[in-house]
């Protein structure tokens, strides 16, 4: 009797382990999964989904949100197992094109929601004249500063690089740390230096192409020495041990008014906006050697893709959600994140980055240099080279490592401007 009971218990426990995902939602409700790969925007999407569900109770959208870098690993695992999420946000990268080539992503050209996107931004996202990536916002890189601190001390916004270093000296002289750095997070450092490359290396696209082809080395690239000098100089004006601080630490230092400025992208603004700041912040562009040289790095920021292989019923549900996401959803997203909109007809509150608007209006913007389709391996080695430069200040080693990062993995499959 006891053995029979034990056997029945084991069988019941085994049945309970069978995943619930085999069960489809009942009562005509269609499940759609939104896989969030950038946890900083999860709360905004949660609200959009909640508002959508009030209008469409027959479509249940669930956001899967994982912390930090785990989302990328889980997504990679799921793609390996042919379990592609219905909708997920992604970025312009070689991996995106690999996914398109593998037939994992759906071509959304010509859909009603794709037509809502600004033509110039949509053009950046095209692959073989088709649209797979739907951008909702564009980003920018800049120097975030404490407005009240600047006004109280009478500090002027620097227009040139020399003025920026003079300002840093002044700030340091008053016992305040000029910059908050978060170099432990490789992407913080890597993205900022891409901004510097775009401003100080006038022929970066052609020069990277030449390096890929083995026709020149990074050390010969026009402006690269200025880039290295700027990285070394910035290290003098940030908190001690910048490689021990990550993104959250960097934002905390700035939010707690321990530093006057921090350099990062608009994709971090939503994190800053959720803090109860005791001051206002604004953004100015990282200056060039002269005011005329200054440009702003801007690229696609929050963007979504959809899975190619879904049932017709689910496709209808996904389309319905995306139509909402790129209309009322986008309005809410832009309002909360304050990011420049990629959706036509939506104007964000630009007061915090009004100093950048003239650059957008006059076309003095450029895309991320790594949009020359660097592979993930190239980007990873480039980041390690930068961290080494911050640690050691050795420019020669930096040039060698950066050169190897570009040449070790071959020329990217797709090369565009």
């Amino acid at each position: 009797m006891k053995k029979m009971m034990a056997f029945i218990l084991v069988v019941m426990m085994s049945i309970a382990l069978i995943p619930e995902c085999f069960a489809e939602a009942g009562d005509g409700v269609v499940n759609v999964e939104f896989f969030q790969t950038t946890y900083s925007q999860a709360e905004i999407i949660d609200q959009i989904i909640a508002d959508f569900s009030l209008i469409h109770p027959d479509i249940k959208v669930t956001q899967i949100n994982l912390p930090g870098d785990e989302a990328d690993t889980v997504l990679a695992n799921r793609i390996l197992n042919h379990d592609v999420p219905d909708i997920f946000n992604y970025e312009l990268s070689q991996t995106l094109f690999d996914m398109i080539e593998a037939g994992i992503l759906r071509d959304v050209s010509g859909t009603a929601y794709a037509d809502c996107i600004d033509a110039a931004v949509a053009n950046q996202c095209m692959y073989n004249d088709k649209l797979y990536l739907l951008p909702m916002s564009v980003n920018f890189m800049g120097v975030f500063y404490n407005v009240e601190m600047f006004e109280a001390h009478g500090w002027a916004i620097p227009q040139t690089l020399d003025e920026l270093w003079e300002l840093c000296e002044t700030i340091q002289g008053e016992g305040i740390i000029p910059f908050a750095a978060g170099d432990k997070s490789g992407s913080n450092l890597a993205h900022w230096v891409q901004d510097v490359i775009g401003v100080y290396c006038p022929n970066y696209i052609e020069d990277f192409y030449s390096v890929f082809n083995g026709n020149m080395s990074i050390a010969d690239m026009e402006g690269i020495e200025d880039v290295a000098d700027i990285v070394i100089a910035r290290t003098r004006y940030c908190q001690e041990d910048p490689l021990g601080y990550g993104t959250d630490d960097q934002i905390a230092l700035f939010a707690n008014q321990e530093t006057a400025m921090y350099i990062n992208g608009s994709w971090r603004m939503s994190k800053l906006n959720t803090r109860d700041l005791a001051f206002h912040y604004a953004v100015f562009p990282f200056p060039g050697k002269t005011a005329e040289d200054t440009q702003v790095m801007s690229s696609v920021d929050f963007a979504v893709v959809t899975a190619a292989d879904v049932s017709p019923e689910k496709q209808v549900a996904i389309d319905t959600f995306l139509e909402y996401l790129f209309s009322d959803g986008a309005r809410y997203f832009i309002e909360v994140s304050n990011a420049p909109s990629a959706v036509t007809g939506i104007k964000p509150d630009t007061s915090s980055y009004s100093l950048l608007l003239p650059y957008f209006e006059s076309g003095r913007i450029f895309g991320m240099p790594s949009n020359c389709r660097w592979t993930d391996a190239t980007y990873s080695d480039y980041t390690a080279a930068l961290q080494n430069l911050v640690l050691t200040g050795e420019k020669k080693t930096f040039y060698e490592e950066f050169n190897d990062a570009l040449t070790d993995y071959g020329m990217p499959a797709v090369y565009i401007h």
Partner: protein, 293 residues
């Protein structure tokens, strides 16, 4: 009849376990070996056979020596730390009265989740330790250990030790408590001091447990990257990139699954060799001990 039914039941259960092992362990290993011979990026439906290119590429990689060096450093520091702290804490606790309560307190760090431990220790390395270092005038401690190439791996080992040493302590404490009291008393009566007691009685008698602790430490160093991922992401400038981290990085962060799996295969072979060496050594020592005894 009953015995026959019992045997049939056990055979069915055993067959189930063997099937599960075959499906969830053996088959993936074979698949992994196959993928390691291709240039698969984890996404493309096609996998092009490249032979042993991935293997030779890894061995000839300019960072290979650094990666192996960092891994060996990690293994040695973690093993030595776990054994030293495990025995140290166990021997101290043996002399004390309120052993149950202290046992609970000492084991507490082990039950805290790795993520929480890492977040806690990040704040200690960022703010508390540099302050103490500056106060005491210790240059190496005056900076964030995570931000220096020389000390980042030491910081990672420290966090792992904080988490794992309680486990080693528990194993060794239990083993030490199992030594017959009259043996210890006889040794003391004959004038053995603490060092002699440990060397001639306590260590030999707990040698199997020492082997378990050593194997645990080495296994953790070879197959765990939680602490490294959370605290340093392999940095600064690759200073904490162990072999396993490199496998993870190439597979999931760089979308080079074929290459990552080739590295994984080589790592598995190294781990098996290390395990066999330790087993052979511990068996030999134990056998010699029995012969001497």
């Amino acid at each position: 009849m009953k015995k026959r039914r019992y045997e049939i039941g056990m055979s069915i259960l055993f067959a189930g376990i063997v099937c599960a092992y075959f499906v969830f362990t053996f088959l993936p290993v074979i698949d992994g070996l196959q993928i390691s011979l291709t240039d698969w990026n984890g996404i493309s439906p096609s996998r092009n056979f490249v032979g042993f290119v991935n293997y030779s590429q890894f061995i000839s990689d300019k960072h290979f020596v650094d990666t192996v060096t960092i891994t060996l450093k990690y293994i040695l520091l973690l093993s030595a730390g776990m054994v030293a702290l495990g025995y140290g804490l166990a021997l101290c606790l043996l002399q004390m009265r309120s052993q149950s309560m202290l046992l609970t307190v000492l084991f507490f760090p082990h039950i805290i989740m790795t993520v929480i431990s890492c977040i806690l220790w990040e704040q200690i390395f960022n703010n508390i330790l540099p302050g103490i270092g500056r106060m005491l005038g210790i240059e190496k401690l005056s900076h964030n250990m995570l931000s220096s190439k020389e000390t980042a791996i030491l910081a990672v080992v420290a966090v792992d030790l904080w988490h794992l040493a309680p486990y080693a302590f528990l194993i060794l404490f239990t083993a030490l408590k199992g030594i017959p009291a009259d043996m210890v008393d006889s040794a003391r009566l004959e004038g053995a001091n603490s060092v002699q007691l440990f060397r001639h009685i306590q260590f030999p008698m707990t040698f199997p447990s020492f082997g378990v602790v050593l194997t645990t430490a080495i296994t953790h160093a070879l197959t765990s990257i939680d602490t490294i991922l959370i605290m340093t992401s392999g940095g600064p400038a690759r200073a904490t990139e162990t072999l396993y981290f490199v496998v993870y990085k190439n597979s999931f962060m760089r979308q080079r699954f074929g290459y990552g799996l080739a590295q994984g295969v080589l790592l598995a072979i190294a781990a098996i060799l290390i395990y066999l060496l330790i087993q052979a050594w511990t068996n030999r020592v134990q056998t010699e001990g029995v012969e001497d005894g």
